[in-house]
């Protein structure tokens, strides 16, 4: 193993001096250097080991919906700093600049195939995709709009922190708030597909992300309740090597399927076809 590792290292070291910066990206899993243009063409999945790089909200929407069909909802919902939490406003500002997003969530209406859907995505790049009041509010409105217009709902989680610390108890309350909205969507007998991407943790997993009629996950995604830094302090027992991954959750019956990024949209289309067609008549 060590020899292979060194070879890979040598390979990337050889390659790098010959090209300008920014054309290569190193795979965090197999550590091979990947030509960025090829990586993008492959939907940001490593050619060598299948590692799924995180996607931005914009990339995720482009991946799953028909070109030009997405129109954003509630874009003006903006974070304030209700607790006066040290450093929060600066962090918001930094990540707005870094991502081009207003907050960690994008919601809207779009078409998948020929079906109108309500879609919401959290973006890990923005404060680790944590659920603050804005994320909770926009996800809730997205669910409510889906219920009103009788639309299938697709929510994609990518969040490291769960409920955001910076808005304290108000972040925590986004869990019951989103769950209550989903209760009504559920009672209206509408479809909800939850897609768990890297990472789907804590308060997000323990609320809307776990409530899908069908729950899909990308390979290798971190999925779990208690984050690493917290559980390291706790004695949690002997962890299996794949603890809190998509594979672990599939084995334990918590998700329906692990789906390669290339297959995500075709899988959604099959689910939509199965659920949205008129009742079968024999």
């Amino acid at each position: 193993m060590a020899i292979i590792g060194r070879q890979r290292g040598a390979e990337s070291q050889q390659a790098e001096p010959h090209v300008p910066d920014g054309l290569w990206e190193k795979c965090p899993k197999c550590e091979r250097a990947l030509f960025k243009r090829d990586l993008e063409k492959n939907l940001k999945v490593c050619h060598h080991c299948g590692y799924h790089f995180r996607l931005s909200a914009q990339e995720r929407i482009a991946l799953l919906t028909e070109p030009g069909s997405f129109h954003e909802w509630d874009a003006g919902v903006t974070a304030c700093d209700p607790l006066g939490f040290p450093g929060y406003l600066q962090k918001l500002e930094r990540d707005r600049g870094r991502t081009g997003l207003n907050d960690a969530v994008v919601t809207g209406g779009a078409r998948i195939g020929s079906t109108d859907v309500a879609i919401g995505v959290t973006d890990f790049r923005f404060l680790a995709g944590a659920m603050n009041s804005v994320v909770g509010e926009r996800i809730t409105r997205c669910i409510e709009t889906a219920t009103e217009r009788r639309l299938p709902l697709v929510l994609i989680s990518g969040t490291g922190g769960g409920a955001s610390m910076y808005e304290g108890i108000l972040s925590l309350m986004q869990m019951p708030k989103t769950a209550a909205a989903l209760a009504r969507h559920h009672e209206a007998r509408l479809l909800y597909v939850s897609i768990l991407t890297d990472a789907s943790m804590a308060g997000v997993l323990a609320s809307w992300a776990s409530l899908g009629d069908i729950i899909l996950a990308e390979p290798g995604a971190s999925i779990g309740f208690t984050g690493d830094r917290v559980s390291k302090q706790a004695q949690v027992g002997k962890k299996p090597p794949d603890f809190q991954t998509a594979e672990f959750q599939l084995r334990n019956g918590m998700i329906d399927a692990i789906v390669h990024r290339k297959e995500l949209k075709p899988t959604l289309l099959r689910i939509l076809k199965w659920t949205q067609s008129s009742p079968p008549v024999w």
């Binding site: 003006g76 207003n102 909770g136 869990m175 209760a183 409530l211 917290v230």
Partner: protein, 338 residues
Amino acid sequence: MDPKQSTGVVTMRKSILDFERQIEQLEKQIEELRQHAAQHNLDLGEEIARLQSEHERLMHEIFGRLTAWDKVQLARHPRRPQTLDYIRLIFDDFLELHGDRTFADDPAMVGGLALLDNKPVMVFGQQKGRDARERAKRNFGSARPEGYRKALRLMKLAEKFGRPVISFVDTPAADCSVGAEERGISEAIARNMREMAVLKVPIVIAVIGEGGSGGAVGIGLGDRVLMLENAIYSVIPPEGCAAILWRDPSKAEEAAEALKLTAEDSLRFDVVDEIIPEPLGGAHRDPELVALRLKEALVKHLAELSRLPTSEMLDLRYARFRKLGAFLEIPEDQAAVV
């Protein structure tokens, strides 16, 4: 979210428990003087009065103006009344029911049939445990998926017979063991909230000690949320917040302040509807009094809720949580639109 960490083992500055010792010494002295005076027929009134006024001064000095961190310690106080204490003090004919009918019984979550003012109700909540043995058995009040599923089973039973539900929240956090993860702790919490949002009987929540993040909201959605004066309700324990933000758990005191986790904060943010006052020094100084106040509040709210038609009650319950959060709405042309 380590339950062991939240039992006050982490040593910071002089804690509320240290000050309490001072007060207890004084109380002991007063009691001894009284006995001595009675036995020997002495008039020690002056001395006793002096100690009593010193006692009163100390009580106000220590407990009159509590910081957020002081309240964290009172909320976790080893002698603080727990769910089973309130069940014993408030209800009659408690019949404990066990098990989630799927995997196990979770002793960290207790519940069952009870009478409140002679009326049938369902009551449950997390139980932390008193001595070392009970604490271990009850996993320090950190419920496992089975605990949340047992609570849900009891709620469904209450709904079937049209009985109101009372939920006592007192947990450092939900269990974070490998087993809890394997059996879907996230799903259990999420599903409870979804079901509680539409359960067709009144639900009154009372946060009596620690309202520890997901572990708390997993039994925390209802028509009314009451909170004891020195209870806390937080998205993360202050130690965990300090560890993540500043990589330094000893900054828990600052984190407690920043997190706005007191009952007053929760009331200001509409997270709770009413604060139940505690005696000076905390609920453990007079559990009967706190139980009485809690009972009066429960009865009052259940009476109000019982007068509402079910659909209206559910709409109000939805609206109650729907409005929680704080954000601005700026014109969309000023926002970053995707």
